[in-house]
Symmetry: C2
Subunit: 482 residues, 2 copies
C-alpha cells in the first residue's frame, strides 16, 4: 500500500470508526459467541498473495465484531472504565506514523522530553506534591508505564534494590538471595491481584493486611503485622496502599499508613489506578490526603481520563531509586549526552526496553479537553453513579454494600449468594447490559461501574429498570418454587 | 470532539501522516536539539480551557518534529529496524476504536481468539515446529508480548516456577528463596541486555557463556559452565540462546545447545527478536536449525515484519508451564467459560494485566502483504545489506568485523578504537545518516543496519559515499597531524 492508497483507506477507516462510535448503542454489548467460534471462520494459514483492504474490512464485520465485548457501549458497566476519545485516537495515529522507539534520550529526544513535561502537567493537574515532579531541577519525576501492574512491580523492584544495597553496605557478607528471602511487602486484602503478582515475580513475600468493615487498610493493623515480622527477623520493606480498590472503590488510610512507612524506612507505593483521575477535581483530593508520605504514586489516565490504553502514569520522589533498580548500559545504547544530568533515559524506568511515543496522547487530550473539560467528565460520571445509587436505594429488596464515592456502585439483592449469582447470570445472559461481580466479606456482590464516554442518564435508568425486571422474574420464580 | 469533527480531523491526520511519509527523506534524520530543548517551548501546565486541533498540529511541527529521530527515514541505519506500514497503522486505528482490554476470554473473545489463530498463522509462516502451535488440540501456543524483554522474563519466570515445584515435590522442606538462591541461568556474552535484566528482576543468577571468535555460543562452553555449577551445588535451569545477536547478528549453535538443555531438564528459550522475521523465507530457515529443542521461542514482527510496535510474538511448547508461573484468579476476573479448556485467558501469559487488540495488526499485515510480499521485503533488505558490504570491501582502509548474514553490516576503519569513535562522531554530527556503534572483542565497531521500509539502493550508495568522504577528511587530518 502506497501513500495515496493510504490517504483513501485512512479516510475509510476514520469513517468506519466514526460510524462504529455513533452506532455503538445498537450493537449487543456482550457477544453471543461460544469459545472457539473464530477459528472455523478464517483460513488456517496466512494467504500467499496479498488481499485487498475491502476484503479485510468485510471480515472485520463477519469475524471480529460478533466476538467483541463493546467496552465503549453505554450499556457496558463492567470492570472499571477504559478510556477512549477522539483526541487520543488522533494522537495515537501520529504516534504510529512517527514510530520511534524512545528507550534513550537520543533515540528520539522529543519522545522523552514531551513525556517528562506531560507527567509534570498531569501531576500538577491532579494536585500531586511538587516533590513528585521533575521540573527543571527536581529529584522526582514521572514516566508512562503500560499498566498499573508494571508500575507496582517497578516500585517493588526499586524498593528491593534500595534495601539490598543498604543491608549489604552494613554487612557485605549477606547475599542478595538471603536478603530477598527475608523481605516482606504488604498490601490490604482488598489490593488488586497485580500486587500479589509483583510479589511472585520479584520473589518478595507479599502479605495481606486485613481491612476494616469499610474495606480500608489502617495503620494499626499494618503496624501490628510488621512488628510481628520484625520480631521474627524478617525485613518489612514495601507497602502498597490502594486509593480506589477494584472490588469496592475503598481508600486506604494514608494519614495512618504514611508516617509508619516513613519511620520504618519502608517504601510506600500508592496504587490509584482508577480513582487517580478523579483528583483532577479539587473536591475529590481529600481522598488522597497523605500522598506526601509516599515514595511512588500511580494512576491510569487510560482508565478514566480519556487517554486510550496504554497510558499508566507513574511518579517517584527520587528518580535515582528507580534507575538504580537495574541500570545496564550496553555500548549500542550509549550516547553522547547520557551523563549530562539533564537527560532521561526512560529504559531504566521500566520493565521493557522498547516504548512508544505515548505522551502524544496525553498532550492531545489535556489540550483539547482542557482541565475544565476533564473535570466535567469526571463529575458527570460521579453524578451518574449517584443516580444509580438512588434507584437501588428506592427498592428495598436490594442493599448497597459499600460507600459510593466515585463511579462505582456495589449492590446486591438481600438474600443468599446463590440468589445474587442467579441475578448476575440473568443479566449477562440477557446481554442488554454487562456487569461483573466481586466478593466482599464472603458476600457475592454486583459491581455497577459507570464506564463509557457516551453513557447518559437514560442509559442508567434503562439499566436499572432492566435489573429490576430481571429481579422480579427471579424472585417470582423463587416464590413459586417455595 | 464529536464524531463529525473526528471525521474531518481524522482525514487531516491521515493526510499529515501520508505527507510525513512521502517527504520523510527531506527531514534531517537525527535532530539538532540539545537536552532540555522542549520544556521552554510549551506552557508549564495544562490549559484550563480546551484548545483547537489546529493549534496542536501547529505545535507538532514547532515542538515535536524538531526533536524527533526519524526511524523511518531511508537514512536511518541505527539499532535494528522498527516496523512501520500502512496496513498496520490502519489496524491500530481500529484497535484504538474498539478499545477493549483483552485480559480474559470474556473481556473480548475476538481479541483473544484472533490472537491465538494469528500466532498459529505466523508460526506456520516462519516454519516453527507444530508443537509450538495451538491448533485446536495442541498443548503449545503463542501470545503477543509488548517486547522481547518481556518474553524472556516470562520464559525465565515459567522456568523458575517449574523447577521450584519439582524440587519442592522432592523435598517439601526447601523454601522458594533457598531454591531461587541456588538457580543459575545462562546466555551468551553476546545476548541482549534485557536477558541480564530478566535475571535481575527474577532474582536468578544470570551467567554469560563466552562466545567463539564468530560470536557464537557453543555447547561445549555451556556444558563446561553448567557442570562446574552443578558441582558447586547450584541448579542450572534456563538457557537463553540468541538467533541474530544485537551487536553482530550472530547465531548461537542450537544443534549443540539444544540437546544439552533437554538432557539436563533446562528450559531453552530462543530470542530471535530481529532475525526471526527472516524465517518467513525458507532459504533462511537453516539459521534456526535446532529450534525443535526449545521450550519457548520469540521474535519481534514489530522489528522487521512490517507490524508496528508493539508486537512481539512468543510461543511455548507447553501452555501449562507458562500459566503455572502465576495464576491468580480474583472474582472480578472470573467468568463462566474459564474452566472449559477451550478458553485462553491471556492475562496468565504476561506481566501486565491489561492488553490491547494487537492481533489486528498482524491480521492486516499478513493479509495485505501476503506471505510473498513479506518474503520480498526481507529479501530486499538482505540484498541492500549485501550492496553495502560490497562497497566496504572495495575500500581497503576498512574491515568487515562479522559475517553478514541478514541486514546488518559490522565494519570499521582499520586502526584504533579512537579513530573509529571519531568517524562515528563525524557521521552523527553531520546528521545526514544515523548509525550506532557496538563493541566486539574490545573493538569499537560501526553497525550499519538496513532499517526503513523506504530504503533503496540509492540511499545505500549515498550512505557509503558519505561515510567514505568523512573517512577521507578524518584520515587526511590524521595524516597532517603526524
Amino acid at each position: 500500500m502506497n501513500s495515496s492508497e493510504f490517504r483513501k483507506r485512512g479516510r475509510d477507516m476514520v469513517d468506519y470508526i466514526a460510524d462504529y462510535m455513533e452506532q455503538i448503542e445498537s450493537r449487543q454489548v456482550f457477544p453471543s459467541v461460544e469459545p472457539g467460534y473464530l477459528r472455523p471462520l478464517i483460513p488456517d494459514s496466512a494467504p500467499e498473495e496479498g488481499e485487498t483492504f475491502e476484503e479485510i474490512m468485510k471480515d472485520v464485520e463477519r469475524v471480529v465484531m460478533p466476538g467483541v465485548t463493546h467496552w465503549h457501549s453505554p450499556y457496558f458497566f463492567a470492570y472499571f472504565p477504559t478510556a477512549n476519545s477522539y483526541p487520543a485516537m488522533l494522537a495515537d495515529m501520529l504516534c504510529g506514523a512517527i514510530g520511534c522507539i524512545g528507550f534513550t534520550w537520543a533515540s528520539s529526544p522529543a519522545c522523552t522530553e514531551l513525556e517528562t513535561v506531560m507527567l509534570d502537567w498531569l501531576g500538577k493537574a491532579i494536585g500531586l506534591p511538587e516533590q513528585f515532579l521533575a521540573g527543571s531541577k527536581g529529584e522526582g519525576g514521572g514516566v508512562i508505564q503500560g499498566t498499573a501492574s508494571e508500575a507496582t512491580l517497578m516500585a517493588l523492584l526499586a524498593a528491593r534494590t534500595r534495601v539490598t544495597k543498604r543491608l549489604q553496605r552494613e554487612n557485605p557478607d549477606l547475599s542478595e538471595a538471603e536478603i530477598i528471602g527475608r523481605m516482606v511487602a504488604y498490601s490490604s486484602d482488598q489490593a488488586h491481584s497485580s500486587v500479589e503478582r509483583a510479589g511472585l515475580i520479584s520473589g518478595v513475600k507479599m502479605k495481606k493486611i486485613q481491612s476494616d468493615g469499610n474495606f480500608i487498610m489502617h495503620g494499626k493493623a499494618l503496624k501490628k503485622a510488621l512488628e510481628a515480622d520484625k520480631a521474627e527477623g524478617l525485613i518489612p520493606m514495601f507497602v502498597c496502599a490502594t486509593l480506589g480498590t477494584t472490588s469496592s472503590c475503598s481508600f486506604d488510610n494514608l494519614m495512618e499508613i504514611g508516617p509508619i512507612c516513613n519511620e520504618e524506612n519502608i517504601w510506600l507505593h500508592i496504587d490509584a489506578a482508577y480513582a487517580g483521575s478523579a483528583f483532577i477535581c479539587p473536591e475529590f483530593r481529600y481522598l488522597m490526603k497523605g500522598v506526601e508520605f509516599a515514595d511512588s504514586f500511580n494512576f491510569n489516565p487510560h482508565k478514566w481520563l480519556l487517554v486510550n490504553f496504554d497510558c499508566s502514569a507513574f511518579w517517584v520522589k527520587k528518580r535515582s531509586d528507580l534507575i538504580g533498580a537495574f541500570k545496564i548500559d550496553p555500548v549500542y545504547l550509549q550516547h553522547d549526552h547520557q551523563e549530562s544530568g539533564l537527560v532521561t533515559d526512560y529504559r531504566h524506568w521500566q520493565i521493557p526496553l522498547g516504548r512508544r511515543f505515548r505522551s502524544l496522547k496525553l498532550w492531545f487530550v489535556l489540550r483539547m479537553y482542557g482541565v475544565k473539560g476533564l473535570q466535567e467528565y469526571i463529575r458527570k460520571h460521579v453524578r451518574l453513579a449517584q443516580e444509580f445509587l438512588e434507584f437501588v436505594k428506592q427498592d428495598n429488596r436490594f442493599e448497597i454494600c459499600a460507600k459510593v464515592v466515585l463511579g462505582l456502585v456495589c449492590f446486591r439483592l438481600k438474600g443468599s449468594n446463590e440468589l445474587n449469582k442467579s441475578l448476575l447470570q440473568k443479566i449477562n445472559n440477557a446481554k442488554k447490559i454487562h456487569v461483573v461481580p466481586c466478593c466482599l466479606e464472603d458476600k457475592f456482590i454486583l459491581r455497577f461501574a459507570v464506564c463509557a464516554r457516551t453513557v447518559e442518564s437514560k442509559h442508567i435508568a434503562f439499566a436499572w429498570k432492566h435489573i429490576e425486571e430481571l429481579a422480579n422474574e427471579l424472585l417470582n420464580k423463587e416464590g413459586e418454587q417455595k
